[in-house]
């Protein structure tokens, strides 16, 4: 399918590659279908692009690349609603934000993706130990802004 995006122009997404949020991203309940865009091999970050709204996209990353000891408690009913038979098939992603010259990840509201069926959900972790703005990395001087 052709997906129009404000950041990347028109992109091609195979229908069976669309990620479906059964339980929506908080604050974005109208937009449940997304595609993951993978930048270069060296990048730790992906774009989660809405297939229905060209302007709507999030940077996401695998938190295990930056954080140790991060564990997400998932209830059985949450596994069921994601259609997950095993955690082996799950991928956790966190939404990335930028504050000052650092990138942070929302570890309190991780995204759990069933990599086989493409269903996803934003979980809320009740444990106050993980913050919505967990620092992932400082942006080095040379990388702060891409040239036009």
């Amino acid at each position: 399918m052709h997906v129009s995006t404000s950041r990347f122009g028109t992109i091609e997404v195979e229908d069976d590659r669309v990620i479906q949020f059964e339980s929506p991203l908080l604050g974005f309940s109208q937009y449940r279908r997304f595609a993951l865009l993978q930048p270069s091999d060296e990048s730790a970050f992906y774009w989660l692009q809405s297939v229905d709204s060209p302007e709507l996209a999030f940077v996401v990353t695998d938190p295990t690349l930056f954080v140790t000891g991060y564990e997400i408690p998932i209830r059985k009913d949450q596994l069921d609603s994601l259609g997950l038979e095993s955690l082996e098939d799950a991928q956790v992603l966190v939404i990335v934000n930028k504050y000052g010259e650092s990138l942070t990840g929302n570890l309190q509201g991780p995204l759990v993706l069933n990599t086989i069926s493409g269903t996803a959900e934003q979980l809320v972790i009740p444990d106050q130990r993980w913050s919505t703005r967990h620092k992932l990395v400082d942006i080095p001087e040379g990388k702060r802004a891409a040239s036009a």
């Binding site: 934000n97 930028k98 990599t115």
Partner: protein
């Protein structure tokens, strides 16, 4: 706001599919049991608000915020790998913009798209 009084073990219906039951009352703390369909999110409001605000802020991220966010036409179809090795992964291919008709010199960065 609709205000209803309930005692322990009594229930409120919201629409046809949502039920809230007072499970326990102890001093200042009330335990509520919620039955709702899987596609309706149920959260403590203060946590919901914190996450919603963070999502909204994050949705404003620009490609220019970090050079690793940039997706180039050459990094389109991925080789095997990606999120999880060997399992279904989500991929998108970016259609390159049409090259301009008159180019004074070849762009050294142009490469043919590799297919997986």
């Amino acid at each position: 706001m609709l205000v209803l009084s309930r005692q322990r073990d009594e229930t409120i219906m919201i629409g046809d599919d949502i039920e809230i039951t007072v499970v326990d009352i102890r001093g200042d703390k009330i335990r509520l049991g919620i039955e709702a369909p899987a596609n309706v999110a149920v959260h403590r409001k203060e946590v919901y608000e914190a996450i919603r605000r963070e999502n909204e802020q994050a949705s404003r991220m620009a490609v220019s915020d970090y050079d690793e966010f940039r997706i180039t036409p050459t990094s389109t179809v991925r080789k095997k790998g990606g999120l999880k090795r060997g399992s279904g992964q989500t991929r998108a291919r970016i259609r390159s913009p049409q090259p301009k008709a008159s180019r004074k010199r070849a762009d050294p960065d142009e490469r043919k798209n590799r297919t997986a």
